[in-house]
Every structure is written in structure tokens, then in C-alpha cells.
Amino acid sequence: MSLPHASDKAVGEKRSRMRAATLLPLAGMAVAIAIVFFGLDWVGTDYAYLAAYTVLQFVVLSTAWNILGGYAGYVNFASAAFFAVGVYTSVIVYKTVKLPLIATMPLAAIAAGLLGLGVGYLTLRLRGTFFSIATLALSVVMNTLVVNWAFVGGSRGVYVLRPQSIDFFGPYTRYLCIVMLILSIISVLIARAVEKSWFGRGLAALKDDEIAAECAGVPALRLKLAATALSGALMGAAGAPFPFFVTYVDPATAFSLTIAVNTIAMPLIGGTSTWIGPVIGAVLLGSLQQIATVTISSALNLLIVGVLMVIFITLAPNGIVGLVQKIRERRS
């Protein structure tokens, strides 16, 4: 063993550095909360809340996607399906027991997490591409299920009545915004904790070399299953407030291609190796789209996302975070 004194000092230094690293994102989030609370109130229009909600929803979705896609390298194309499981769990709860939203969200997360576990159990033993293909088909089958399920509105859709306002929070849209903000903070904290924990490092090891990881004692299948379930659960939670946000849901909006594409494009453009990448991607691309939807057509704006994504994965596979790192390395 090395000298105890020296190592104690090193550990102490590390601890304080770690504390600083934890405080930084928390401070960032405090600023975000402040902006949403005061900034949006200052703008005061409903559209401001709508835009903020959509961007925050994408922060959750792309952060969730990245737990499996970025850390473990398994591409999930079914984000819309996991999201929709959350949406329809919420619809079912609304039509039956009418629990408050805060109680519905964990239920949605559990339902979507179980779905992830099931699909993962069947396909995660095989090559990663098979998992991806299975998720592609998963969206279709979930869509089919909902279309044929009259109780949740079938293909015609379902209306959800929401209160105009809610105690303490004011207008309901403002309340939804705050719920989504809290969920996005929770998601980012979870993603960050995963990344810094042995769970995340195990995922990183198996992403690099699954056999070598197993020989180092990493239970690859279990970790992948856990990541799939966790990632799916967060997506499901993101879907739960959606019916109240739009007040009318049909399969076309719940399984929207916009969700599937953005959820993959945002982490890839932001950078998949750290928790901050998906956040940057979601905020940047999400805001851009909010502006573009008003100024240009929505179809064209989706086309832009697609083209941006292809350009990034071809030319800058490590995303914006990777570009920044490269520039920093060159400077030093």
C-alpha cells in the first residue's frame, strides 16, 4: 500500500473536487427553475408554457434514451412506444380511478419499465442490432394495440378534461410545466448518478467489449436489462402528463414520429458519452424547433432535424460535447 498520509490528502482533494462537480449542475438547475418560474410568468403567454413544456419533455426523453443508447451502445427506436405506454397509463387512470398526476407518473414509469424488461429479455442476448430491430417493430405493435382498444379511444382518440388552474401553482399549463421541469431534473440526476456509478461504468465496459467485461465479472445481461427498464421507465413517466397537456390524445400523436426521431437525434447531436450531451441536444434542438414551427412549416422543420442528425453522425460522431472537447484538447 502507498503512504496513508499522502493518499488521505489525495482523497480529500478529490472529495472537494467532486463536491464542486455536483454543485455545478445543481446550480444550473436552480437557474433553470428560476427562469421557468419567473421568465415564463414574465412572458406570461400560454405559448411560452407550451414551448417550455415541449423542450423539457425532450430533455427527459433524450436523457432516458441515452442511458441505454449512449452508455451501453444499444439503439432503441421505440421511444415513442415507451412514451405512449405512459400516455395511455395516464388515460386509463383518468378514466378509472382518477388519481392525481403525481401518483399516476410512477405507475406509468412502472408500466413502461416492465415493457422494456420484457422486450429486453427476449432480444438483449442477441447482437445489438436485433434489439434495435425489435424496438422498431415494437412501436408498430403498441400502436396496433391502442388502435384496437376502444376503452382508450381506439384510433379516434380520447378527450381528457383538465382543470383550468390548480391550487398554489396557478394555471394548469404552468403546473404541467413545473411537473415536467422536476421530472427532467430527476432524470438528469439519475442519468448522472448512473454515469458516475459502477452501474454506468459496467455499461461503459460492456459497450467497449462485452466478453472482456464478463470476464471482469460484469453481469452484462442484467446490466443491459436494468438500463432498458430504467430508460423505458423515464420515457413512460414523461408520457404521463401528456394527455393533460394536449387534452386530446389519439394514437397518431402519442406514437408520433417526431418523438422517435427527436429522442435519437438530440443525444446524437449533443453527444452521447456524458449526461450533459442529451440535455444540450434537447434544449438546442427543442428550442430551435419551437421557433421553426412558428416561422416555418412543421414538416420542413422535421426534415431539418433528420438532415442535422445525419450530418452529425457522419461528420461529428461525438456530437457537440465531442467537438468542444476536441477544441479544448487542441488549445492545451
Partner: protein, 290 residues
């Protein structure tokens, strides 16, 4: 009491649908099964074919199938170009799995939205002499609209099988993903071989598009319904086997028409997913996996 009339009609149209699915899936059997390229944008190219047929049919009155057969060589070279790009950007660095998948997903999406911007969201259809009339065999009626795609689909698989069995390039296509280095050692260039094969794969998608729009009216987003189908057929058929592809396509066709007949058309998209998941979970090698 079984309604034989209904059942036999369902079985016949299932087989006919299966023949069309051969055309849809043969390109994926080449790209995914033989070349190991997970081209999830394949259905988007099928939609492209459908709209090429639509455009030339409505604007110039050209037969939809003819339009796509003429377009196929262009698609072949387009496909070669696309593989070049894919190779240079991903495969060469061994980064094809995550990034390659996202690349094709992006392509799928760009094509779909592009078609949407050009042609809109309405269902489009074509006109041709064979759309409408049927052959009546006892109580089974066979519409030409379904028979022609079946014949063309089976012919396409036959042509690819013949090409692979009889030509040097074809045999190299079968070998290339098993050991690219060994292919070099017998004098073949794996990149060139994959380029040619991918070109063929895209060309088949364009022709399949014409068959699709002959069978039914189309709009850009229905392409996605075919993703599950093409991969289910490819995996169930044993990935590399063309006879396997035909059998799997027929099975899926029959399963879907039976579902449509007895449960209603809205359930049929889920069939392919069920087959896919079951195959992956139970026997990933498929029916005729070597």
C-alpha cells in the same frame, strides 16, 4: 362450421400477398442477411418507388411497373453511391453498429418527410389495365392487381437466386460477410462486392414500390409499417436464405390475411412483430438458417 369459401379465399390472397412480400423483403435479405448492413431505411426506398410509379403514371400515363423497372438501374447506382458513403463514414472505422443504425434511421426519416413535402399526406393511387379485373377459379377469385405483384415478386427472388448461384459476383455476395479477408484471398474486393449487392438491394426496393402502389393506394408514412414485416421475413427465413425468404414471406402473408379475415384489418400490423419477437426469442437462426 368452417366457411370454406371465406377460408380458401383468405388462403389464396395470403399466398398472393406473400409473393408481394418476397419483393419487399428480398432487398433486406441481401443487405441485412448477406451483407450485414442494417438498412432500416429499406421501406422508405419502397415508398420512393411507389411515388416514382405514381408520378410517371399520373403525369405521363406510363405503366407503374414499367416506370420502376426503368428507374431500377438509376436506383442501383444510387444504392452503390450510398454504400460508398456508408463505408467511408462508418464501416471502415468499425463503427457501423450504433452510428450506422442512426444513419439509416435518419435517411428513413428524411425520405419520408421529403415525400410528404412533395406529395402531401393524401392517399395516392395509379391506373393500369390490370387493376380491376380478376380471374375466377371456382369460388376463388384472383384479382390481377394481386397476381401481378406476386409473379413479379417471385421472379425477383428467382433472378437474385440465379445471379448468386451462377455468377462470380453473386457467389462473392454470399461469401462476403462470412470472411471479407478470405474473399480478398481468392481475388475479390469486398467493398466492391458489397457496393454492387447494396445497389441491387435498393433497385429491388424501387420495383417493390411499384408493386405496392398497384396493390393499394399509398401515402408516405405507411412505409414504416413495412419495417417490422421485412425484418420479420428476413429473420424468420434464416437471414441469408432466399428459399427461406420465400417461405417466410408466404407464412406472413397467410397469417396476415387470416388475421384480417377473422379479426379485422386493424390487427394485421401486429402479426409481423409477434413473428419477429417469437423468432428472436425462440429460434434466432430462423427456419432455414444455415
Amino acid at each position: 362450421m368452417v366457411n370454406w369459401d371465406l377460408l380458401s379465399n383468405a388462403l389464396v390472397s395470403g399466398v398472393l400477398l406473400g409473393g408481394f412480400y418476397c419483393a419487399v423483403a428480398v432487398g433486406i435479405t441481401i443487405a441485412f442477411g448477406m451483407l450485414d448492413i442494417v438498412n432500416i431505411a429499406h421501406p422508405a426506398f419502397i415508398m420512393m418507388g411507389a411515388f416514382i410509379a405514381y408520378f410517371f403514371n399520373t403525369s405521363y400515363g406510363v405503366d407503374p411497373l414499367l416506370a420502376c423497372i426503368v428507374a431500377a438501374p438509376f436506383a442501383y447506382f444510387g444504392g452503390r453511391l450510398m454504400y460508398r458513403l456508408y463505408y467511408l463514414a462508418f464501416e471502415r472505422h468499425g463503427e457501423e453498429s450504433l452510428q450506422g443504425l442512426a444513419f439509416f434511421f435518419g435517411l428513413l426519416f428524411i425520405i419520408e418527410v421529403g415525400l410528404l413535402l412533395i406529395f402531401g399526406v393524401d392517399y395516392r393511387f395509379v391506373e393500369a389495365r390490370y387493376i380491376g379485373p380478376s380471374i375466377q377459379l371456382g369460388f376463388v377469385s384472383i384479382p390481377w392487381r394481386l397476381l401481378l405483384p406476386t409473379i413479379v415478386g417471385l421472379a425477383m427472388v428467382g433472378a437474385v437466386a440465379l445471379f448468386n448461384a451462377k455468377t462470380f459476383t453473386g457467389r462473392a455476395i454470399l461469401a462476403v460477410s462470412q470472411d471479407p479477408g478470405a474473399l480478398r484471398l481468392v481475388g475479390g474486393n469486398p467493398v466492391h462486392i458489397k457496393e454492387v449487392a447494396f445497389g441491387i438491394s435498393i433497385a429491388t426496393a424501387i420495383v417493390a414500390g411499384a408493386l405496392l402502389i398497384i396493390i393499394q393506394p399509398v401515402e408516405p408514412s405507411i412505409g414504416r409499417d413495412f419495417i417490422g414485416r421485412v425484418f420479420a421475413i428476413c429473420v424468420l427465413g434464416g437471414m441469408t436464405s432466399l428459399p427461406g425468404t420465400v417461405i417466410a414471406a408466404m407464412l406472413l402473408g397467410i397469417a396476415e390475411t387470416l388475421t384480417t379475415t377473422y379479426l379485422g384489418p386493424s390487427w394485421s400490423p401486429a402479426i409481423s412483430f409477434g413473428i419477429l419477437l417469437l423468432t428472436l426469442g425462440v429460434r434466432p437462426a430462423g427456419i432455414l438458417g444455415r
